[in-house]
């Protein structure tokens, strides 16, 4: 298992957001996490790279104990790419600057090496010709693809996607999903929080349904979408599909 989270609990003050979640993800697997808002799926994702520290439980990624005090978290995070709903590109840097910052500062590449790797990463997301553009000069879809390039440039073992298309205009969603699909085909392990059901059906190995801080049900997309066994899953899938 490349990702192994055991009995994750997360409290925010009095709020109990994760109530004992286990999640194992195999290499090259694409796991889709769905569920109503407030169900804890984003928090679970953020516990995997320790953007949130779980109140209790254990997280191992690529053999590294992410919660151990002795773990060099900055080193460990290089292996875990993350893409955010709101892109979070650095507005004061060009697309290439965004992609190469961690290559230079964390991976220790020279500027010339980083530029070559960064340019290759932009190529992979179809934006080689936008390298010198600032985020403000790019569309939402392009910004999100630069954000993906920023993550994959570090050659992570796992990619986390936190609602990567939720902030996009409908006509821009396709370009981001296309990049995710090609990542998938290259064998990247991916954990995706999203409501893009079409993409889930086509590309996911497994769909995990969360509600109220727990994993309620999981299985292959066909099983979850066509024959959900739990009432809450059925209600949620029904709501999503009515849209």
């Amino acid at each position: 298992m490349i990702v192994s989270a055991k009995d994750i609990h997360k409290h925010f003050g009095a709020l109990h957001v994760l109530k004992g979640v286990d999640l194992d993800v195999a290499e090259r697997e694409l796991v889709f996490v769905i569920g109503p808002s407030g169900s804890g799926k984003s928090t679970l994702l953020r516990c995997l790279n320790r953007l949130e520290r779980p109140t209790s439980g254990s997280v191992r990624v690529d053999g590294i104990d992410m919660l151990a005090p002795s773990t060099d978290i900055n080193h460990a995070r290089q292996r875990i790419g993350m893409v955010f709903q709101s892109f979070n590109l650095y507005p004061h840097m060009t697309a290439l600057g965004n992609v190469t910052l961690a290559l230079r500062k964390v991976a220790g590449k020279s500027r010339a090496e980083a530029d070559v790797l960064g340019q290759a990463a932009l190529e992979r997301v179809g934006l080689a010709d936008r390298a010198s553009h600032r985020p403000a000069e790019l569309s939402g879809g392009q910004q999100q693809r630069v954000a993906i390039a920023r993550a994959i440039a570090l050659e992570p073992r796992v990619m986390l996607f936190d609602e990567p298309t939720s902030a996009l205009d409908p006509e821009l969603v396709g370009s981001v999903l296309a990049v995710m699909r090609s990542l998938r085909e290259s064998g990247m392990t991916m954990i995706v929080v999203s409501h893009e059901m079409g993409f889930a059906r086509a590309a996911a190995d497994r769909v995990v349904f969360m509600d109220d801080g727990l994993i309620v049900e999981q299985g292959p997309p066909a099983a979850i979408f066509e024959h959900p066994t739990h009432e809450r899953t059925r209600a949620f899938i029904g709501q999503i599909q009515r849209h």
């Binding site: 790279n49 953007l51 900055n74 080193h75 460990a76 995070r77 290089q78 875990i80 790419g81 993350m82 955010f84 709101s86 979070n88 590109l89 650095y90 507005p91 004061h92 910052l101 961690a102 500062k105 964390v106 991976a107 403000a136 954000a147 920023r150 993550a151 570090l154």
Partner: protein
């Protein structure tokens, strides 16, 4: 003699002005020296305090807030007088020049810290998270990602505050600093004529008007779209 002639004779007396021009020019040099020292040390100290504050160490932050609030509340003239007349009692005897420099630098430091801090906290959390998720350390994130964005947000309030405090160099005249106002007022009492004061005012305009205009230019230059 017409009214206008009398006015010119009093406020723009050519003979008096020629005689005291070297004094005023000397005062300008002193004012420039003071201003540069105050701006460099005040802004630097303010930035350092804001960076320390961003580390989030509670007792340290309380201390910073206390210092900053103290120097934002005290009138600069009071600080100058306290340092100039008070410190000798503690064994140190700073000159008027040094007293004025330290006092105004402390005041600028206090206001600058608040402005830098406001800039740092107004950078969205997502910027921190994105940078940290790629493995950048806290300090790398602060210096490479957050600070460059924070500085752009601070340029307008910072230039305004810097100009306002730097003009306070005129307060140095109270502790015998030979800056512009000091030179002008002693020239005025020696010549029984207010023309040197007009020269002093002109000297301030010559010094600060370009700075104000430059500040306006910097503000528009760095107002960038997000």
């Amino acid at each position: 003699m017409t009214g206008w002639d009398r006015f010119a004779e009093t406020f723009f007396n050519a003979k008096v002005m020629a005689k005291y021009l070297p004094d005023i020019l000397y005062g300008m040099v002193v004012t420039i020296e003071l201003a540069v020292l105050i701006i460099l040390s005040g802004l630097f100290a303010g930035l350092v305090l804001a960076l320390i504050r961003s580390l989030g160490v509670r007792p340290l932050n309380w201390l910073i807030i206390f210092i900053v609030d103290l120097f934002r509340s005290l009138p600069p003239l009071v600080i100058i007088v306290l340092i100039y007349f008070g410190l000798p009692a503690a064994g140190a005897s700073p000159s008027g020049f040094v007293s004025t420099w330290i006092s105004l630098a402390l005041v600028l430091m206090a206001f600058a810290e608040e402005i830098f801090w406001a800039g740092i906290t107004s950078v969205p959390r997502g910027q921190w998270e994105a940078a940290r998720s790629t493995g950048l350390s806290f300090v790398q994130t602060l210096l490479e990602v957050v600070l460059p964005q924070a500085l752009r947000l601070t340029i307008a309030p910072l230039t305004n505050r810097t100009i306002a405090i730097t003009k306070g160099t005129a307060l140095g005249t109270v502790v015998a600093v030979t800056e512009i106002l000091g030179q002008a007022s002693s020239a005025m009492s020696n010549s029984y004529n207010p023309s040197p004061l007009m020269m002093g005012a002109t000297a301030y305009l010559v010094l600060f008007l370009p700075v104000v205009v430059a500040a306006r230019w910097i503000e528009t230059r760095f107002a960038w779209k997000r």
